[in-house]
């Protein structure tokens, strides 16, 4: 199946700093989603972004499908941004089988 790699695995930031999280995938994708899993375990949809660029407040994401990667940008980080960020992709050859990366654990310190 499709492989999904996220980097870095862990990231510690001071409040107010910016960061870039990366998601590489091994094959063509139909769908790509970014999620934030908060410290209570809840999965929050951030972006549905199989291609192109989207922005939502301090967060933005870019997917370059032809080069098989996606980036999540967090600007002016806040302590509430802490948690684990997951990238998940649905292969172009195997619909309905969404594969998750191992996540990036972000800690934002006050």
């Amino acid at each position: 199946g499709i492989q999904v790699e996220q980097s870095p695995p862990d990231l510690i930031l001071q409040e107010g700093a910016n960061s870039t999280l990366r998601c590489n995938f091994s094959d063509s994708v139909n769908n790509l989603q970014w999620f934030h899993q908060n410290p209570w375990g809840q999965l929050i949809n951030l972006f549905y972004i199989p291609s192109g660029t989207k922005q939502n407040g301090r967060l933005s994401a870019t997917t370059v499908a032809t080069e098989r990667y996606s980036l999540l940008y967090i600007s002016s980080s806040q302590t509430t941004d802490s948690g684990v960020y997951f990238c998940a992709v649905e292969s172009g050859y195997n619909n309905n089988d969404m594969r998750f990366g191992a996540g990036t654990r972000l800690t934002v310190k006050p």
Partner: protein
Amino acid sequence: NAGVTQTPKFRILKIGQSMTLQCTQDMNHNYMYWYRQDPGMGLKLIYYSVGAGITDKGEVPNGYNVSRSTTEDFPLRLELAAPSQTSVYFCASSLPGLAGYNEQFFGPGTRLTVL
């Protein structure tokens, strides 16, 4: 809309016991999914359904069964619980659309411990 709801929130089982994890969605989504998340890992797909009466295996289906008799409900059954099934279980749903759109929406999860 309540979205995707799951019950129970927490459960402890003894080895060999059985249980059903409940999942309901009120968004009229025709696709539903079950995932498990082991500590420090991403989610893995157990089973999915593209509509009432249709189910299919995902990446890790062994030890589980599902049924889909209505659009709203997608229960997950563990017949003989094993310690390896200790995990957090997430249910999700989606409504595929044009150009391959298939954004999934997740429930709050069920934390299951098998002792």
